[in-house]
């Protein structure tokens, strides 16, 4: 480990703590980061009477776990969950494929109009959704009527297709691919490998952390997306989780305890998957002396 190598070259300065000193930094930082979660979870098990306090009560007298089944019963949440999951998984899969292809092309391939196309793609990030949602609605409706019904308005396909590839994903992977040492790809070219094979066999395996990160971020975006599903979906059976959670928010009053219970249930899968899949985010192959500089 690098610690051993480091200490070999330096006189040991201090007695080692029984735990890494970094915990002293990470623990307070993490506490600050999770404060809203603490509030979220506490509210989700409170009675409405205790939830309606200001300043908020962080140590309730009555714990009501019944908020969770009550939240599930309030609307067809199982259906919403399935819809959200289908949309998120498909969006992630499609992004990984399409953005890898495009990102690689922008990073390594030379073709006419590359620069201009990249600029145009980046510009799609620069107009707020409040302005683009109406034309996006009209386009999606047209596609549903004239091309393929399941991708039109009021189908979950409409939630997938507009986000099947994002400028974010293309930009992110382009940056990442450019940091990879080009030697592997060059020697494969010399050996006559096709571009696609290079991408699949060499570049992508080296990019696991970046792909995992893109997957995590895209999943998050898709799972929490509210405004576009609000505009595009017109039947309860096609709703996604955020739309379902909005059912606890009325114009004048909100059912906080149920809303927070719903929020916790919505967050939990994402956090569990992220936690469990940590190894994909860390490079398992330590890149050895490629002297890539």
């Amino acid at each position: 480990m690098s610690a051993a190598a480091a200490t070999a070259g330096r006189p040991s300065r201090r007695r080692r703590l029984p735990f890494s000193p970094w915990h002293l930094v990470l623990i307070p930082a993490t506490l600050v980061l999770i404060l809203p979660f603490a509030w979220l979870i506490v509210t989700s098990v409170e009675t409405p009477a205790e939830a309606l306090h200001f300043p908020p009560i962080l140590t309730p007298h009555v714990i009501r776990l019944g908020n969770y089944p009550a939240a599930l019963r309030a609307a067809p949440f199982a259906r919403f969950f399935v819809n959200s999951a289908v949309v998120a998984v498909t969006t992630v899969a499609s992004n990984l494929v399409l953005c890898s292809l495009a990102g690689y092309a922008f990073a390594r391939l030379r073709f006419l109009g590359r620069g201009a196309l990249f600029v145009v793609i980046m510009t799609t990030l620069m107009v707020p959704f409040q302005v683009t949602m109406i034309p996006q609605f009209i386009i999606t409706k047209w596609l549903g009527t004239h091309l393929l019904a399941p991708i039109g308005i009021n189908h979950i396909g409409a939630l997938i297709v507009p986000n099947a590839a994002t400028a974010f994903g293309v930009f992110f992977l382009r940056q990442f691919f450019r940091t990879l040492p080009i030697e592997y790809e060059e020697s494969a070219r010399v050996d006559g490998a096709s571009r696609l094979k290079i991408l699949l066999r060499i570049v992508l395996p080296l990019s696991t952390p970046a792909l995992a990160t893109l997957a995590a971020l895209t999943f998050l975006d898709s799972w929490n997306n509210f405004l576009w599903p609000l505009i595009a979906i017109n039947s309860t059976s096609q709703m996604t989780l955020p739309l379902g959670l909005a059912m606890f928010q009325g114009a004048h009053s909100t059912e906080w305890t149920l809303l927070m219970a719903g929020n916790v249930m919505s967050l939990a899968p994402m956090l569990i998957i992220f936690f469990v899949a940590q190894r994909f985010f860390v490079r398992s192959i330590a890149s050895t002396g490629l002297a890539g500089t």
Binding site: S94, F137, K141, P150, I153, L200, H252
Partner: protein
């Protein structure tokens, strides 16, 4: 690894498309004949009662299917406007009354003037505030869905602790201010009253009620010029300012979210608010009283109300007829009574409150609501029903907030706002 990944993602995509194809309804808005779609934002008990009424209607009228879609009321405007441009409107939508003058410009909105004058509908049975908000330029564009008003909700325990007499029906703003001062305790972080200061219409309409009580008007007759920079406007503004800036008895809530919970936690003595907040005070022993008046002013204990409308969109003659039939049934006295009793919402029809024992029944379910019901009689006028009202509201919001934060003197703020409002009225398309 890549291969497994590629296969999994392909499989996922296929599954997704499959689910999407078989999972979807024929559900574009109101597609099948004999079915109508409603967009509403009912939550909690309101949602349950509304769902019950809808299924009752469906049972009584086989051949019609009423489906409702939950759309948060705050977001419904964005969804409706997108639907207008995209051609996917519902048959009925619940829309805030404050949007009525602009919603009336949508060509697909059905003119209900003839509908509401049909025998049996009894249009005058709806409160005057509601009828004002449902009518734009003489055209009735909606049927009232909700009515409310502002009154004072006070904490009985805090009043007792301060040895103060609870508010009486004939009280004045001087008494309100004095009570607020006595109820404020800096050490306990307790405030006499509160006011919301995001500068939105919520900030403005509280002040407007005081303006009317002081005998003032917002705009001149015909909505030609500003009329609020008068003695009445000054009196209304100064009353608020004294509490906020001089006495520090007023908690200022810039986010419109904390004041309710603060009252529930016993930190605020009195709130000027509506019946919707009553169910959010489970921990406070509260009482309800009408708003105080200005001694000697003609406005009395006038209050302001914020009704909302059911609006019908034209998706073809068959749909319009079906939608009208449903709405007239939903807003008939029997259903209004049923809805009010089970949700605590104020009845939208006067005849319902006239029924014996109604007020007591409401009070049993939601203590204090009968005062709000009686207070509906104090609604004598409504905000100007003009398309430029939102812009006017913003100028007024800035005026009130700048005075409450102590950044401007009342007279100066009134003059500036009047100037801005006159400009807005002169250039409605500017």
């Amino acid at each position: 690894m890549i291969r497994t990944f590629a296969c999994t993602s392909l499989a996922a995509a296929l599954v997704a498309l499959g689910l999407a194809a078989c999972g979807s309804d024929s559900g574009s808005s109101g597609a099948a004949a004999g079915s109508i779609q409603i967009w509403e934002g009912y939550t909690g008990p309101e949602a349950k009662v509304f769902a019950h009424l809808v299924s009752e209607y469906d049972t009584q009228h086989p051949g019609t299917k009423v489906t409702s879609l939950f759309v948060n009321n705050d977001n419904s405007l964005q969804k409706v406007l997108t639907a207008v441009r995209g051609g996917s409107l519902p048959d009925i939508a619940y829309l805030y009354g404050s949007w009525a003058p602009n919603v009336a410009q949508i060509p697909q909105v059905v003119n209900l003037t003839k509908t509401v004058s049909r025998p049996g509908v009894n249009w005058p049975d709806f409160w005057v505030g509601e009828r004002d908000v449902a009518t734009v330029n003489g055209k009735v564009i909606g049927i009232p869905a909700l009515v409310d008003n502002l009154a004072v909700v006070y904490n009985k325990t805090l009043f007792a602790q301060a040895a103060l007499q609870p508010p009486q029906a004939g009280w004045t703003w001087d008494q309100f201010s004095a009570d607020a001062r006595r109820l404020t305790d800096a050490a306990k972080k307790q405030y006499g009253t509160a006011y919301v200061t995001p500068g939105s219409e919520d900030t403005v309409w509280h002040w407007e009620a005081l303006l009317w009580e002081a005998g003032g008007q917002l705009l001149t007759a015909g909505n030609k010029k500003a009329a609020f920079d008068s003695a009445a406007g000054l009196k209304a503004l100064t009353t608020l300012r004294t509490m906020a800036v001089t006495d520090h008895s007023m908690y200022l809530d810039p986010t419109d979210s904390a004041y309710g919970n603060l009252f529930n936690s016993g930190k605020i003595g009195m709130l000027v608010t509506g019946p919707w907040d009553l169910s959010t005070f489970p921990n406070a022993k509260y009482g309800v009283q009408v708003m105080p008046s200005f001694a000697g002013a003609s406005g009395g204990h006038q209050t302001i109300s914020g009704p909302d409308n059911w609006v019908i969109f034209n998706n073809g003659a068959a749909h319009v007829t079906a939608a009208q039939k449903f709405l007239l049934w939903l807003t008939a006295p029997a259903q209004v009574r049923y809805f009010s009793l089970r949700t605590g919402d104020l009845p939208t029809r006067q005849s319902v409150t006239d029924a014996a024992g109604f007020d007591q029944q409401m009070d049993k379910a939601l203590p204090g609501v009968s005062t709000f019901i009686a207070n509906l009689g104090n609604v004598r006028q409504s905000r100007p029903q003009i398309a430029t009202y939102p812009k006017i509201s913003q100028a007024l919001g800035t005026m009130v907030v700048s005075v409450l934060l102590g950044k401007a003197a009342p007279q100066a703020a009134l003059s500036t706002a009047a100037q801005q409002v006159n400009q807005i009225l002169a250039n409605p398309n500017g």
